[in-house]
C-alpha cells in the first residue's frame, strides 16, 4: 500500500514538474514576493529616515525619536508576510485546477478509476503532491523573511511560527482548490471556484458594520486572514491550526466523495 502510494506520488510529481505551469506559478510567486518585499524594505528605510531626520543632533541620527510601533517587525516582516499569503491565494488555483480536470480532459480518469487502486490512494497522492508543491513555493520565499529575522534578531522560532502558519494556510487553500478541481470538468471553472471560495472567506470586515456584534464575532472566526495574523506575530494558536486543518480535511473528503461518485457512475 505504501509502495503504491509512493509510486503514485512520484508519478504525480513527475507530471507536475514536466509541465511548465508549475515553474510559471513558482516564478510568479517568488517574483511577486521578492518585488513586494523590497518595496516594503524601501518604505521602511524611508520611514526610518523621516523619523530620524526630525531630530538630527551633532552625534548623527537620534534613534530615540522613532516611535515604538515603527520597527522591522511591524513595518517589514508582517506586511511582507501578509502579501505572501495573498500571492499564495492568487497563484495556487492555477496549480490545483489541472490536477483532477486534466485527467478528465485527457480521458485518463477512466483508466485511473478502473485500476485496482483505491480512491483514497489516488486522492491522497494527488493532494500530497500539491502540498509538496506548496512547501516548495513557501520555502522559495523564505529567504526574504529570513533576512529580516537575522537582521532584526527576531529569532528563528518566530520564522518557524510564520512558516507553520503559511504552510497550514497554503495546504488548506490547495485542498479547497483540489476539491474544486475534482468537482468539475473545466479547468477554468475549477480555478474560478477555487478563487471564489477563499476570496469570499478572506475577510468580512466589510460586512461587520451591517451585523450584530455576535454575528460579526462569528464571521471574524470564519475569516481566513484573521487566522494568519498570530503566526506572523510569532505565536502559534491551536485554534488556527485546527481551522486550517479542518479546511484541509474538508477538501480531502470532498475530493474523495467526488471521485468515488464518479467511479460509481
Amino acid at each position: 500500500m505504501t509502495l503504491r502510494l509512493a509510486a503514485l506520488f512520484a508519478k504525480e510529481l513527475r507530471s507536475l514538474f514536466a509541465s511548465p505551469i508549475a515553474y510559471v506559478v513558482l516564478t510568479a510567486y517568488v517574483a511577486l514576493s521578492g518585488v513586494y518585499f523590497f518595496q516594503h524594505l524601501l518604505n521602511y528605510n524611508r520611514l526610518l529616515f523621516v523619523f530620524q531626520g526630525e531630530k538630527l543632533g551633532s552625534s548623527g541620527f537620534d534613534s530615540g525619536t522613532i516611535p515604538l510601533q515603527v520597527n522591522s517587525l511591524n513595518e517589514l516582516f508582517i506586511p511582507a508576510a501578509n502579501d505572501f499569503s495573498l500571492f499564495l491565494l492568487a497563484v495556487l488555483p492555477l496549480v490545483t485546477m489541472r490536477v483532477f480536470c486534466e485527467e478528465r480532459t485527457q480521458g485518463t480518469d477512466e483508466l485511473l478509476l478502473t485500476t485496482p487502486l483505491r480512491t483514497w490512494e489516488v486522492v491522497l497522492a494527488k493532494h500530497a503532491t500539491t502540498y509538496f508543491f506548496v512547501m516548495i513555493m513557501i520555502a522559495a520565499s523564505a529567504i526574504y523573511p529570513a533576512i529580516v529575522v537575522t537582521r532584526s534578531q527576531l529569532g528563528l522560532e518566530h520564522l518557524l511560527a510564520l512558516y507553520l502558519g503559511q504552510l497550514s494556510y497554503g495546504v488548506a487553500i490547495a485542498a479547497i482548490g483540489l476539491a474544486c478541481s475534482s468537482l468539475t470538468h473545466s479547468q477554468l471553472v475549477a480555478a474560478m471556484i477555487a478563487y471564489a471560495i477563499p476570496f469570499a472567506l478572506l475577510d468580512f470586515a466589510w460586512l461587520e458594520p451591517q451585523l450584530s456584534e455576535s454575528a460579526a464575532a462569528l464571521l471574524r472566526e470564519v475569516a481566513l486572514l484573521g487566522h494568519l495574523q498570530s503566526f506572523t506575530r510569532g505565536v502559534i494558536e491551536l485554534r488556527h491550526i485546527v481551522y486550517f486543518a479542518g479546511g484541509t480535511l474538508l477538501g480531502l473528503v470532498v475530493s474523495m466523495a467526488s471521485l468515488e461518485l464518479a467511479r460509481a457512475r
Partner: protein, 510 residues
Amino acid sequence: MRFLAAGGMVMLLSGIGAYYAVGQVSLFSTANLLLGAALLLAAGVLEARRFRGFSGRLARSLALRWGAVLAATFGLVVLANLLAFRSGLTLDLTVARQYTLSEQSLTLCAELADAERPERVELLLFDDALLADDVRLLVAAYRAACPIETRELSSADAPPAAAALLQTYDTALVVCRAQRCEHVGYPSEQNITSALLRVVGEELGPLVYFDVGHGEADLASERDHGFSALTSALRNEGMRPRAFVGAASQDVPDDAAVLVLGSPERNLLPAELDALDRYLQRGGRLLVMLEPRARTNLVELLERWGFSLPDAVLADRQSSPLLEEPQPLALVVNRFGSSHRVTSKMSSRTMVLLPTSRPVLAVRKPQADDDLAELVYTSPQAWAESDVEAALSGREIRPDPGELAGGELPIAAAGRYPRPGGEARIVVIGDRDFASNRWIRSLYNQDLLLNAVLWLAEQDTRVTIRPKAWTPDTQPLPLGTTLSYFYSLALALPELLLLLGIHAWYRQTS
C-alpha cells in the same frame, strides 16, 4: 457555464474591490457581490448536471453515504474548532516571549486573586483595540492568568476617569479599579503590569521617603543625575515615592515603609542622625546609596549597624569589556550573593552597571541575632583604589600594597536587625549614579534597586526580574546591501525558475 463562472468571479472581485477602494458598502459593491455570487451558484448548478446519471440504487446509496460522510466531517471540523477556541492553547515563539506573562505579572495576578478586599479590576479597551493582534494576544494572556475583567468600549462611552486619560495620553487601554484609572500607553506587558500596580498601589502601596537637603539627587529632575526615572519605576511597582526634608523634621514619619538616602554630600545634623537611629531601633527600613567621594557622618551611623565603607573607589580593568570605552572605574558586575532575597533572582546573566562605586563590607553583627550579608561583588581582578581623587580625575591608577584587592570585593550589603520595636532592615549600595536617570535603565540596574526597596518594604514576594521592553531592530538596511539582496535574490531566483519552466515546456513540446 464557463462564462457564468468567469463573470461571477469578476463581479465578486469588483464588489470586494469597490468596498476596499471606497471604504464602505455602496450600491455598486452590494450589487456586484450579489450578482457575482448568483452567477457562481448558477455555474455550480449547471456543473452539477453531470451527476444526473445517478439513477441506480447502488449509486444512490453511495451518494447518500458520501453525503453523510461529508456532513459528519463538517460537524467534526466545527466541533474541533469550538474545542480549540475554548482551549486557548498557544505557543509563544517570539524571541522575547512577548505574549507570555513574566513572573512579576503572574505574582501580581496571584496577589489580586488573593486580595482580602477584592475590588473589581477592569481593563478597558477602547476603539477596537482588540482588533490589533498583538493587543489581543497580550490581553488573552492576562485574561488567562489574572482576575481582571476586560471591556470593549468606544471612547464616547468611557467612564469619566478613563475619559480624562484618553484625552491626555495616547492610549487605547486603561486599567481601572473602583473610581481610579491608570493609562497603559503603548500596549506591552510591562506597561499593562505597571498600570495594574499603579492602580492597586495608589491606595495601599508602601510610602518610600527620599531624604533631601544634603545634596541628594532631585526626585523630579529629568537631568542625567536626577531620580525622575527611579520615581517613575517605583510608581510602576505600586509604591508611593515622597520627598522628605530630614533637617526640618523631628523624626522619620511613622508611615515610611522605606527611607532612602541617595548619597548625601554633606554631613547630616546630629539631630537627624539621632532620628535615623531611633527610626531603625523601632524597626525602620533604610536604603543608603553612597558615592565614593561622599564624605558624610552617615558612614559612622552605618558602622554602628555593622557596615564598613572604606574611603576608596573600586577599579577593575577587566570588568567593563561591554562598554564602548572600557574604563577601570565603570564596573559591569554579575556576581551576586544568591542566598539573599534581594539578589535571589539575579544570576551571571543579569549584569549590573556601576559607573563609580565604593566597597561596602558587612563586617560585624551589632547583636547576635542580627543577620548581615553581602549582595554584589566585583570580579576577582578588582581592587579598592585609595587615591579617590586621582581615580575620579582620570589619572593613571594601579593597585598599591595595602589596598583591598585579591578577591571579589563587595559593593552592596544588607542587614536584618530584630529589635524590640520591630525588625530593622538596611541595604547599603556603594554607588548612587547607577540609580540615576542616565544609568537606571542600563542592564539590570533597575531590578537590583527595585528588589532592594521591595525587600526593605517587606514585599519579598514581588522580588523579580522585570520583563525587558523589547522592540525589534530600528536600523535601516544599508542601500548597497539592499540592492545586492535584490539582484541576487529577488531577480535571480525567479529568472532561474523561469528558465527551468522554458526547459520543461521545450521538452514537453518536442
